[in-house]
């Protein structure tokens, strides 16, 4: 019997703070996460996996209403893998790599978002948001150090103590069916959505541009044999002068997104009398389908000026918003979560200075700008804002039918890829010369490897804590290198260590060092590795530093820099 995640409801239970016996004694929790959406849940799981106890509060008692965010990117899947629920997402989701763009009824452009083999995860899966939240929630429920409090609405926020010190804390006033109580935490993660009550309570706003266009989402249940590709039409015969997007979800549900124009009546357009003929125009007069979920939306590209305000950190839609074309909303929020979690864990553990949290803000503000820039460009193409912009858009589409160059200008949404945090203060600038994409600040790419003779994936062995990766080629490991690895493994910030060997060399077994074999040579190629190349990887699987030769002292300096610890200037 499968679970219906759309109808699940969770019980409110009075918490410790509300009990007369224990309520008087005020606990200060390390982290309070507000909002049990994908971002809040991912943050809570990531923190809990790193040993930080979390209280997660949500003002509701159910999962996402409607399918909402449906496209989850490879990077999000890599993160879900690290959080222990990637397989469930991918098993249920619809994997896809290919998108097609049509002008009228003619195919003008095909793109493949993952044209090379040798990656565990596809470029994207489509999966209804309630499944994503459901699988994350079930993972969170397995963890004893996450306490989830439903029907708990934050109605007050107060910060106290000296900012940047251990006595800085946040007191939330939480409203429940049993009345209000005070909830104190060192840090609060506001993952409470685009209308963020915490942002409003703190008198902050998220600024940007709202686009004058309306779109209709019709989730339709039907048996159909469209391929599992993203299909986007400009000016199709079945919906003239506007755009349409067709996308497959699990359970025989298809997302159809119709551009309606600014003058459309959002209430009227949601009625089955209006929706069904639009769907029928696409599918044909005899198509059999049921409407699963209908929504009319407008969208904005906006962000908060700063994602950190004292000990309150904003993540996901509360901090930034984009148009849906590009799947950059939920995916960027999940990346916020993983950027923030390890930093909070390190600060709370006393291993990093509080200034590390400033880099959560700066890194993710940079990423948000990139997402907003891409989203705005797509939107300007799909919804031209001026007559001349429309002339150029239509000219591109006309040219695209016959001239390949114009196809690369056709913008139906540039799909989410992780930002390369190349200017991050946490990076150590390359001293040695490297080629390829794995620059400091990039998120690590996957590669097929072998672990103990069995097929495995590189990314499964990276991250969660700082990881050192030594490519030893076919040279094996000499005594000096072994001593250096041992020094790193037992230092103040102990490194998880991975050695990647090629050829038939058998590096000696070293305690707590994972030996992987680069059987296809792809790991070495993707990381531009030579024998001796050493990468320092952040807990969130971003490249932090790299060298052609392992030098423990250089690694120690890079680690201090990555933790904002004194003496790295």
């Amino acid at each position: 019997m499968s679970i219906n995640y759309q109808t699940l409801s969770f019980e409110y239970q009075p918490c410790r703070e509300q009990s007369p016996q224990t309520g008087a004694k005020q606990t200060v929790y390390p982290v309070i996460v507000v909002g049990a959406g994908p971002v809040g849940l991912a943050t809570a799981i990531d923190l809990a996996q790193q040993g930080v106890a979390v209280v997660l509060v949500d003002d509701d008692c159910s999962l996402s209403t409607g399918s909402r965010a449906i496209c989850f990117s490879k990077r999000s899947l890599d993160i879900f893998d690290r959080l222990g629920c990637g397989d469930r997402m991918v098993d249920k989701g619809i994997s896809w790599n290919v998108g097609k763009v049509f002008l009228k009824d003619e195919l003008v452009y095909t793109f493949n978002l993952q044209p090379e083999a040798g990656h565990h995860r596809p470029a994207f899966i489509n999966l209804q948001q309630y499944y994503v939240e459901g699988f994350l929630l079930e993972r969170a429920q397995e963890m004893p150090n996450i306490e989830i409090r439903w029907k708990s609405k934050v109605v007050g926020v107060e910060q106290s103590g000296t900012p940047g010190t251990c006595d800085a804390a946040v007191t939330l006033t939480v409203d429940t069916p049993n009345g209000q109580y005070a909830l104190r935490g060192r840090y609060v993660v506001a993952a409470d959505g685009s209308r963020s009550p915490i942002r409003n309570l703190m008198g902050l706003d998220s600024k940007g541009v709202t686009f004058k266009d309306r779109f209709l989402i019709a989730d339709v249940k039907m048996e159909a044999d469209f391929p599992t590709e993203r299909w986007f039409w400009f000016d199709p015969p079945f919906h003239p002068n506007q755009s349409v997007l067709l996308h497959r979800q699990p359970d025989n549900v298809w997302r159809i997104d119709f551009q309606l124009g600014w003058d459309a009546d959002p209430v009227l357009e949601k009625t089955p009398e209006r929706v069904i003929p639009r769907v029928r125009a696409l599918l044909g007069p005899d198509a059999k389908f049921e409407l699963e979920w209908v929504s009319v939306y407008t969208f904005s590209c906006l962000r908060m000026e700063r994602f950190r305000h004292g000990n309150v950190l904003f993540a996901g839609d509360s901090a930034h918003g984009v148009s849906p074309f590009g799947a950059r909303g939920a995916n960027s929020g999940v990346q916020d979560a993983e950027n923030l979690a390890w930093k909070l864990a390190m600060v709370l553990d006393g291993k990093a200075s509080d200034a590390l949290l400033d880099t959560y803000a700066s890194e993710r503000e940079f990423a948000a700008d990139e997402n907003i820039r891409n989203s705005t460009r797509s939107t300007d193409f799909i919804t031209p804002k001026s007559p001349v912009s429309r002339v150029f858009r239509d000219a591109v589409l006309k040219l695209a039918r016959h001239h390949p160059f114009a196809r690369q200008l056709t913008n139906s949404g540039r799909l989410s890829v992780p930002a390369v945090l190349s200017d991050s203060p946490l990076n150590t600038v390359d001293r040695d010369s490297f080629a390829g994409l794995m620059v400091p600040g990039a998120s690590c790419v996957d590669a097929p490897v072998q672990a103990a003779g069995d097929p495995a994936w590189l990314l499964r062995h990276l991250g969660q804590q700082f990881t050192g990766v030594l490519f030893c080629g076919d040279k094996g490991i000499d005594a000096a290198t072994e001593a250096a690895l041992n020094a790193l493994r037992t230092s103040a910030i102990p490194l998880k260590l991975v050695v990647i060997a090629s050829g038939d060399t058998k590096p000696p077994a070293i305690a707590d060092v994972t030996i992987l074999r680069d059987a296809e040579g792809l790991a070495g190629a993707r990381y531009d590795a030579l024998p001796g190349t050493f990468y320092l990887i952040r807990p969130d699987q971003h490249v932090c530093a790299r060298w052609r030769q392992l030098e423990p002292l250089a690694v120690e300096h890079a680690l201090k820099r990555a933790l904002c610890v004194e003496g790295t200037a």
Binding site: V388, V391, D394, A395, V396, K398, L399, F405, A406
Partner: protein
């Protein structure tokens, strides 16, 4: 590659005539579309981003009464 604004057309008068000819019998909307397509074709041929930005800047400066809002940097140049 700097934008070449020195004489470079092989057959200047023939080119100009062909350009005007392209618009013959077109209404305003079609003329605009033809111009836009021409710009896109030529831009792709040039390819180099800095050169294109230079041309865009000269074109914008050449619009007599356009008041650049506070000397704003063009978003593409950002």
């Amino acid at each position: 590659m700097a934008l070449n604004t020195q004489p470079n057309l092989a057959r200047p008068d023939d080119f100009y005539e062909a350009l005007i000819d392209m618009h013959r019998d077109l209404d305003d909307a079609r003329s605009q579309s033809a111009n836009a397509q021409l710009i896109l074709l030529l831009a792709n041929h040039i390819g180099d981003h800095a050169t294109l930005l230079e041309a865009i800047r000269y074109a914008r400066e050449g619009v007599a009464d356009a008041s650049p809002e506070g000397g704003e940097v063009h978003p593409l140049a950002a």
